[in-house]
Subunit: 436 residues, 2 copies
């Protein structure tokens, strides 16, 4: 189904993607719901006003009049699915519903992606961060010197996680201020902790699942099989971390100021429907104890084969020194996670904790088995002891002021010889100096 | 300043209190902002419509048209303070603004407290739970077998805390379903954890501070001195806990399903202004290391002398066995906390984490030095090993289905021979059986 809109052969946003986001334009600061096809951003509010959704049975398209996607995300799966299919038809060459000859509506409802400003796609009610990669969990346990074995006793039995801070979730492109906090005394030192900017600022490459549908009431639970109904879609997430602040504060109540100063998400929510062609099985793992029934995956392929890449570039400081090529620091894959998003959903709600449309579940750092698939500097540099080399030949350990971290994700295929990619665009953030 | 409304001599809601809450009535399910004086609930929306706030300079009283207090809480302190003083004047005998002869408006705007249904006073954006009592922190560390010393290394340097779950915060009176989860194997057992309802359900007596004012932007910080501007007020909070689920899951990322199945708050937010007559100093503590400058308290009396009480009664099960007298299990005081709410606010934001009106900061369990001041069953029963005796003579350790936990708090005084109490009413919750 080729589109009548131009789509580059390697674009993340083929007609098979149809992600959802929120944007504004230079002419109007009003936030509007949109989708993206190639380099075209489509104003779904305008399409709604142009009656383009009138034939989608049971859909109240006024949800696209909202300034966030929460109300759309809360629609039942069958409605969300029908809307997405309808949008595909609206932009397909020769389809009966195609808008290709409706120049007036197209003019009103389409923008060049470069022209628009993207915003947080949802108002996040609650944000939770899991730790679903066995590789990351074991590496981080060892490097952060968590008491006990590197893999915590509970990890093989359940997807461990913690509640994160929703108020500091920001859209890609928002600068992140280097946080200040208490840094522990050096080992053997007789002085106490000192207050100041973190000297071990890190990123973590994660994927975020955005909750959709009606969720569950207090005291009720969801199951792994509810994942299609209750996960609206995925986005890339950068869980910025201040390692020495985190290490000092986290026993026994978990990460706090070491994490709550900023979490960046990519602007387009890619639906699980779009990712269906990329389904795959969870990693084969050995010596795993039996899992509680509520965590059983009915789906043999409950995860996705999505290629993940991360670069760092010293946008301000290093550019002045002649270094302006991003350094590729990671190539990983979502399929390295040991737990599925369905299992995270089931675990989170088994206690009776309510999920609501717009809530966000982070996967945890998606490190894989290969050195190149380590997804944070804690692991890449062995907690600052083994520098990596930038494209300009510098040795580096932690993030410096002015560094920009870019994360991308794409599931690639061709459909009938045409671009069938389902990608996420970029999740980007620049480090600003600490407050003095 | 006596009120023309009847106020019992021992009522929590003297004219010196003027707390804020949200209610509905049998005639209308619409949620409205209100206050309470004695046993009278006052409809602030109706007062606003009756132009009773027109003379409060700079106040847009339409914030009382909202179904939550978030917009009112976000007003600057000077406006919130002026509104509260004005409400006092409206209900004071003989005051020039007194409504005592405005029978029409009084009829429209007043209800008997027994007639109304209370709702969550604010939409909680983010909820954080601190651990500010040294007694509780040391007891819980020892009893939960947290690795390392009972008092975590960071505790003397900063108020440790974790991000909690906002979606499961409920108003007093909401039943709490006993949560299910993974219970660790018995020590020495060769079998794995088992799935089922918690067998160690607990309550924790805490106070919650509700954030007010404009808060701070991402990357900026608040200081201890911002507490009056940025804390709207306090409420009682019951941080229900499933101890064996919590114990199994919490290393290294902190409490999760052991806490996120329900957090109950009392309906009336008591302002810090109302609590000014009860200001007191933090506990004298010995051998405390120097504190980082951002945690210094400019105020010599940054906490409050508020008496706290807790009872448990087997509302369903024990009543049938002839036991219907609540068992008084705790008498404590807010002044036992080692850190002030101003210090919690400064610590939470020192990283640059944004605070927004309606956010909630739990104090942690307010245990004191006396056996009777231990504020959760974990401590009262030494993790289920030392039963307490109910008023009916039964031996009990953890909460049973049908148990009701009631928490009250009051700062008492007389003013000119009249009731000057500033109390919180009751924070109540009944345990429902687990899902099967």
């Amino acid at each position: 189904m080729p589109s009548f809109l131009p789509i580059d052969p390697d674009s993340d946003f083929s007609i098979h993607n149809i992600p959802f986001g929120v944007f504004s334009t230079a002419e109007s600061a009003e936030k509007r719901c949109g989708t993206r096809i190639g380099d075209t951003v489509v104003d779904l509010r305008e399409l709604c006003r142009g009656k383009a959704f009138d034939e989608v049975s049971g859909f109240n398209s006024s949800v696209f009049e909202q300034s966030t996607l929460n109300d759309f995300a809360a629609q039942p799966l069958e409605i969300r699915r029908a809307v997405r299919s309808h949008i595909q038809a609206l932009f397909t060459l020769g389809a009966s519903q195609s808008l290709e000859h409706n120049k007036e509506l197209l003019d009103k409802a389409t923008y060049d992606a470069d022209e628009v400003k993207m915003h947080l796609p949802v108002r996040v009610g609650d944000y939770t961060d899991f730790c679903a990669s066995e590789y990351h969990t074991a590496n981080a346990g060892r490097l952060m010197k968590v008491p006990g074995p590197p893999l915590p006793p509970a990890w093989n039995h359940l997807p461990i996680g913690y509640h994160g801070r929703a108020s500091s979730i920001v859209i890609s492109g928002t600068p992140i201020t280097r946080p200040r906090g208490l840094r522990p005394p050096a080992p053997g030192s007789t002085t106490g902790p000192t207050f100041g900017p973190t000297a071990s600022l890190d990123m973590e490459y994660e994927m975020a699942a955005i909750v959709g549908g009606q969720g569950n009431q207090l005291g009720e639970s969801l199951s792994t099989g509810d994942v299609m109904e209750n996960i609206f879609g995925l986005a890339i997430m950068n869980d910025w971390s201040a390692r020495e602040i985190q290490g000092f504060e986290m026993i026994p109540l978990g990460p706090f100021n070491g994490k709550n100063f900023g979490t960046t998400v990519s602007p387009w929510i890619v639906t699980l429907d779009a990712l269906q062609p990329f389904k795959t099985n969870l990693p084969q793992r050995e010596n795993v104890p039996p899992m509680a029934s509520y965590l059983h995956e009915a789906d043999a392929k409950p995860t996705f084969d999505i290629e993940l890449d991360m670069t760092v570039v010293g946008e301000f400081i290093l550019a002045a020194a002649g270094e302006d090529e991003p350094t590729h620091v990671m190539h990983s894959n979502l399929k390295h996670l040991a737990y599925s998003f369905g299992q995270m959903l089931a675990h989170h709600t088994v206690s009776g904790c309510p999920m609501q449309a717009g809530d966000m579940l982070g996967s945890g750092t998606i490190s894989g088995p290969e050195p190149k698939s380590l997804a944070c500097l804690l692991e890449i540099t062995e907690r600052g002891t083994k520098p990596f080399r930038t494209s300009g030949g510098q040795e580096r350990v932690w993030l410096q002021d002015g560094d920009r971290v870019d994360m991308t994700a794409v599931a690639k295929r061709t459909v009938g010889g045409e671009n069938g990619n389902v990608g996420f665009g970029v999740c980007s953030g620049v480090v600003k100096p600490a407050l003095v």
